[in-house]
Symmetry: C2
Subunit: 182 residues, 2 copies
DNA sequence: TAGTCTTTTCAGTTATTATTGAAAGGAATG
DNA sequence: CATTCCTTTCAATAATAACTGAAAAGACTA
């Protein structure tokens, strides 16, 4: 039995979203589960997902948990049914915000810490180096500083964009274009 | 023999940058090679890189080629030496721009194509569905449209930011903050 | 509390991706 | 044009990441 147009469209979307996720360091299956819940819109239970994506119960359980932890989907229940159902946030902007905040939280702090760590180690020990190496240490320090400044700028911009919310996104977009054109 | 402060700082930076890359869908080694060339600043040959990262010649060759293709490093030569040397772009903003442009080029087009494809398939076949499914098809189409709009907005913003160049980045940052505060 | 239904966990397996090393291919040198 | 030095390629291998399935744990019911 062949799929109808709706099923085909959904499947195509799910597959592509999975591939996208994979190139961005998110497991293909996790992205597919999310895509499926998003495009379906309805609450789905673990068995639905296992069946539609042809994956095992354990796999489904793991990936659903991760998505809940990320805040991209939430658990829900259908009355008269003991099973757990899952439902995705359907607001595109909100999804973007959730993903971005999460990655920022996990990644920006640690990298800044490392950069600062490198700098302070260098600062303490540079005087102990021979002259030629001292110059290199200074160059290295400058690069670390550049990188820190850059990450900071990006972080501030991101913060502003994220806290603006979807209503202001058009305005923001316009403001950026204006600034750039000048 | 133990490493001095400069070596330690460089190694820490390289390792962390590699980990970062890995979580962003870039192979750890490729990120490490790039980090090494960046933090060193000097031209390095394949053997330097093999030795410093403890990797094989083939591996070094492959990853260097990729980095050249991405435009993050370039080949260079030292007079009196037959070997090829590699040197990294040292401008943080420029590096960001290169990476972002490259990923955008590779990824944004294809995903937009898929979304459009899904929509037009749906549009053609929706009338053939039974009534209840037609409603679902309309809902699905709306989500695809939302996603397209969102990607488009993001793309426009990104384009503006990228074409602004590093000199304007402070101004841009300020403009964003202003817009958001209002 | 025992019985039933559901979810989670995780050791073992499979699939994917990255790496090696040696052979082949190029390029400069004399 | 033969030699040397260097780079690339790629089949084989190793390392990593993802997935399975069955057992254990948890939760609701009567």
């Amino acid at each position: 039995m062949s799929a109808d147009a709706l099923e085909r469209a959904e499947q195509t979307f799910v597959r592509r979203w999975g591939e996208m996720g994979a190139t961005w360091g998110i497991s293909r299956t996790m992205a597919e589960v999310h895509a499926l819940l998003f495009i379906t819109g309805d609450p789905l239970c673990t068995d639905d997902i296992m069946q539609m994506l042809q994956i095992s119960r354990g796999n489904a359980s793991m990936n659903l948990r991760q998505l809940v932890n990320w805040g991209l989907i939430r658990r829900t229940h259908l009355r008269g049914d003991r099973k757990e159902y899952f439902i995705s946030d359907l607001d595109t902007w909100q999804m973007f915000e959730t993903i971005t905040r999460e990655r920022r939280r996990r990644e920006v702090g640690p990298i800044i810490d490392t950069l600062k760590q490198c700098r302070s180690d260098l600062a303490g020990d540079t005087p102990k180096l021979e002259k030629e190496r001292q110059q290199k240490a200074v160059d290295c320090d400058k690069k670390l500083q550049d990188m820190l400044d850059f990450i900071n700028t990006l972080d501030v911009m991101l913060d502003a964009v994220l806290s603006s919310g979807s209503e202001q996104i058009g305005m923001l977009s316009a403001a950026i274009s204006n600034t750039v054109k000048r």
